[in-house]
């Protein structure tokens, strides 16, 4: 439900399909692109893409991270044999990428193969959006870290209400050869940027060669909420997870539960050895609970981030809780210290609190032995329709299964159970 990064492969595929119409057939982009995934049969790749045999090739990972040259993950001017060997050597391997926001480690799974295009000049071109305007950024110095040459960047702002068909950029571009051609292409790309609901589009560089412009490194984000309007323009599109740690089995399972329902179930495992576990209702409240654990100095002990909201069924809350409890009780704390389960939430609007607790209570009751063995202490805080009954059911459950459990309602500050638990943990 927001801006989502897409593969360079998809971005180039979409642009190649749209540039003709957007420019009145003045421009065409090469649509010879191959995406190699773990399911691709490398030995027969050229059957599907015969051009691979004829062209010199560029190969690079296509997993939403940049600076591939710097990270030595870029193969240029190679023949097919070399390209295949290069991919085979790296497919499924874990690598650590150095990017603008630090180091990230993940597994290589997707590679983009395209024809190698020799060229004369490299420009920088990007389209960004903010509240009131779209901005076109252009620099004659592409192919470098753009921040280092930011003084060469021309920024052209276009009010969001402007008609994209009437945007004119020629007079604003710096002096470059065949400026008119470049201006016409920028205008056509801007039209695609608007029509296709891009939220971000960057070419660094876009190459200039014999009067033609060729997008080289392309980074793009789409606004995925526009999918209901853009299905045809986008074609079959996938929104990959950001490069990084692959999901655990449990996270994948919760994601599959989430996909089954209109309600929301989220789980991110932070530290399986952490002693503070969150089972919080509501997107806003769940963030604040995690915040408070961190702000009170227990970031190292925070085991997970997660939320359930949108009135999930008893079955789903049961499955979700069960998954969380299994993770939490996998092994007792090595020092024998208690673990804390915070069943939190704000004051619900209309959700029946007692009803949503049913699945949680069921899962807790079934995990009785594990909870005892792991010295789990439970804190509950919730308000909203029928909360008294919900809290009373929770309290009785604690007695029944012999697990220490405290309940609080709206008279107690929402995150008070965080400080209560952490105060005890500190002792």
């Amino acid at each position: 439900m927001a801006q989502k990064g897409i593969r360079e492969y998809d971005a180039k595929r979409m642009l190649a399909g749209a540039i003709g119409e957007a420019s009145g057939n003045q421009f065409a982009f090469d649509d010879r692109l191959a995406l190699v995934t773990p399911d691709t049969n490398l030995t027969t790749l050229e059957k599907e893409h015969p051009w691979l045999l004829k062209e010199k090739l560029v190969v690079k990972p296509d997993q939403l991270f940049g600076k591939r040259g710097k990270n030595r993950l870029l193969l240029l001017d190679a023949d097919l044999k070399a390209a295949k060997a290069w991919i085979a050597e790296r497919m499924g391997k874990e690598v650590t990428i150095e990017g603008a926001s630090g180091k990230t480690t993940g597994v290589l799974t997707h590679f983009l193969v395209e024809p190698f295009a020799p060229h004369d000049a490299e420009y920088y071109l990007a389209f960004t959006s903010s509240r009131e305007v779209d901005t076109i950024h252009f620099s004659p110095k592409g192919g470098v870290d753009i921040e280092s040459v930011w003084d060469t960047v021309v920024s052209i702002q276009i009010p969001v209400l402007a008609d994209p068909a009437k945007v004119e950029v020629l007079s604003r571009l710096p002096n470059i050869p065949e400026k008119e051609v470049v201006a016409a292409l920028v205008q056509a790309l801007y039209r695609i940027y608007v029509d296709h609901h891009f939220a971000y589009l960057e070419f660094n560089p876009i190459a200039f060669s014999q009067g033609k412009l060729i997008p080289l490194d392309t980074v793009a984000k789409l606004d995925d909420t526009a999918s209901f309007q853009c299905a045809a323009q986008w074609g079959p599109i996938e929104f990959p997870r950001p490069f990084g740690r692959p999901m655990t089995k449990e996270e994948t399972y919760v994601e599959s539960l989430d996909a089954k329902t209109g309600a929301s179930l989220k789980l991110t495992l932070l530290n399986p050895d952490g002693r503070v576990w969150l089972l919080v209702a509501g997107g806003g409240a769940s963030v604040i609970y995690a915040d408070t654990v961190v702000d009170l100095g227990f970031a190292d002990e925070l085991a997970n981030y997660g939320e359930y909201s949108g009135d999930p069924s008893t079955e789903l809350t049961y499955e979700y809780t069960k998954t969380l409890l299994n993770l939490m009780t996998r092994k007792p704390d090595p020092k024998g210290r208690p673990k804390y389960l915070l069943i939190g939430g704000g004051i619900a609007n209309f959700t029946d609190v007692a009803k949503t607790f049913t699945g949680i209570i069921q899962a807790l009751a079934e995990s009785k032995d594990k909870l005892q063995k792991n010295h789990v202490k439970i804190y509950v805080r919730r308000g909203g329709p029928n909360y008294k009954e919900g809290l009373e059911n929770m309290r009785r459950l604690g007695e029944r299964i012999g697990v220490p459990l405290e309940v609080y309602g709206p008279e107690t500050h929402m995150t008070r159970i965080v400080s209560l638990a952490l105060e005890e943990a500190r002792r």
Binding site: M1, R131, L270, G282, G346, N349, H413
Partner: protein, 616 residues
Amino acid sequence: MKGDYELFTAETKAFIYGEQLRAAQRMLDFDYLCRRAEPSVAALITPERGGFEKLFWGTKEIRIPRITSLAEAAARFPAADVLVNFASQRSAYDVTVEALAIPTLRTIAVIAEGIPERQSRRMAALAKAKGKWIIGPATVGGVKAGCFKIGNAAGTMENIREAKLYRPGSVGFVSVSGGLSNEAYNIVARATDGLNEGIAIGGDAYPGSTLLDHLLRFEKNPAIKLLVSLGEVGGTKEYEIAEAVKAGKITKPLVMWASGTCAKVLPGQVQFGHAGAKANTAAETADAKNAALREAGVIVPGSFDDYGLKIKETYERLVKEGVIVPAADVTPPNIPLDYAQARAEGLVRKPTNFISTICDERGDVHNYCGVPIDKVIAEKYGIGGVIGLLWFKKDIPPYARGFIDIVLQIIADHGPAVSGAHNTIVAARAGKDLISSLVSGILTIGPRFGGAVNGAAEHFLYGLRNGLTPRQFVDEMKKRNVRIQGIGHRLHSLENPDARVELMKAFAQKHFRGTPLLDYALAVERVTTQKKGNLILNVDGCIGVLLVDLLTELRFTDDEIDEMIRAGLFNAFFVLGRSIGLIGHYFDQVRLEQDLYRHPLDDILYDVPKSPENPG
């Protein structure tokens, strides 16, 4: 006259766009709780239909118009200046753009989630150009205490009462999250004299109005003395608030917290529930925002845990300084609980008007007498098994299902000449529809047409239950001048038996534990056929006695069997089975395009007197 900082007053009138009766009722309940003079909902905009809707105003019902277009609604109710836009993600933009063009509408709350960002940005720009307000998208809305409530904002009446939203206090609150607004109203209610106005701008990256827009509005409102806000990670609008405080545009004390400080310990770029809640740069992190706000002089707690405390401290300081004179408490009127809610809470009960003991369509799969329909199909209950469940409330064994199937097949049709089929054919030829033609045939079923099954069962049961020997039974019926039903056939005789009868007899004798009534009827047949070879147990008689034997087989008591006979059980089989044939005759006539039937005159004896009898 309201100031331009005031979006809602106790006179505000609004339209609700969309099929949102519960939201409308919640708004009216809030109005009533606030003792508003008039309801805040002027009309429902429902493009599918006009007319009106009945909603409650306290205990009595009032009519709220349904209007099919926004333009018409605005023309009829020019005083309404708020639109609560519940249109879907797909159409919310168009509705909002249309509303922005209507001069009388000033504030539009856009509830839908997932509106494309470019559309949201265009809505915001259009609203700004026209000096109008958009709250949302992706928001529950907001509430002006004691005056007006947008849609479902502030939750249940209990929440509203708890947070004292029925009368204005001194606090202006604005947050990103709508889900947390109830929590915030609760915090404000516990820490201060209450909320004056609360707005949730929505969690999208480009809300139509921002935290700062509303804080500046609250700043101008003399009734608001204390500002409280809740921001979050992502975007940079909090810096504008810090700038506004520094520049003296916000002078009232502001307690604020930006949530999402945990983002730094989360892997990669975790997207929280809100589309806008994602830090793309260091400046967009919650830590940086909280630091900047604190630096500008905003009251920022150390963590959310102290949020309520900071609000309380600030409020008490303002009271001490005389800036705030705590708002007096008032007692709001009672609002009756909705019946459904009261029942859910176990507060009321009422006797039901209907009872069903044969099936239940609630739940995931409908069931017939407790057997889910998927099981009925998977286990091949067939029509016989379904009749067992719905007529007898019994899970009858396969042979009983099979017997019912045989009966229905035999009954299904008896040719075009019999009364029922004839009537259906005549009706079909008169151009009547399927149901009229079918019914005209079915209505013929009764004591004479199809009645023999019923009569046979009654007669033989009488003989058997009264211990009459077959001979005594025949003699008694003769003495009473009653023809024994189910005995006698035009063509068939002992020597030339009816194949249908033989088939049923063989089936029952093979599968039933016993066939006492059939045995009795056959004994009677031995007596009658002594007199005449064709006085055999005919097909109606056989069905009648065997159905009674079947009921005995299914462990119905004599009383229950009598009750079912009186209720028309045999006619039920006849109506059900024969409908198959009657429908066939109807289709046949339609396909053959048969014209209106008129009986030939030479087939009627006209014996009309020359003149009527004169009674004198």
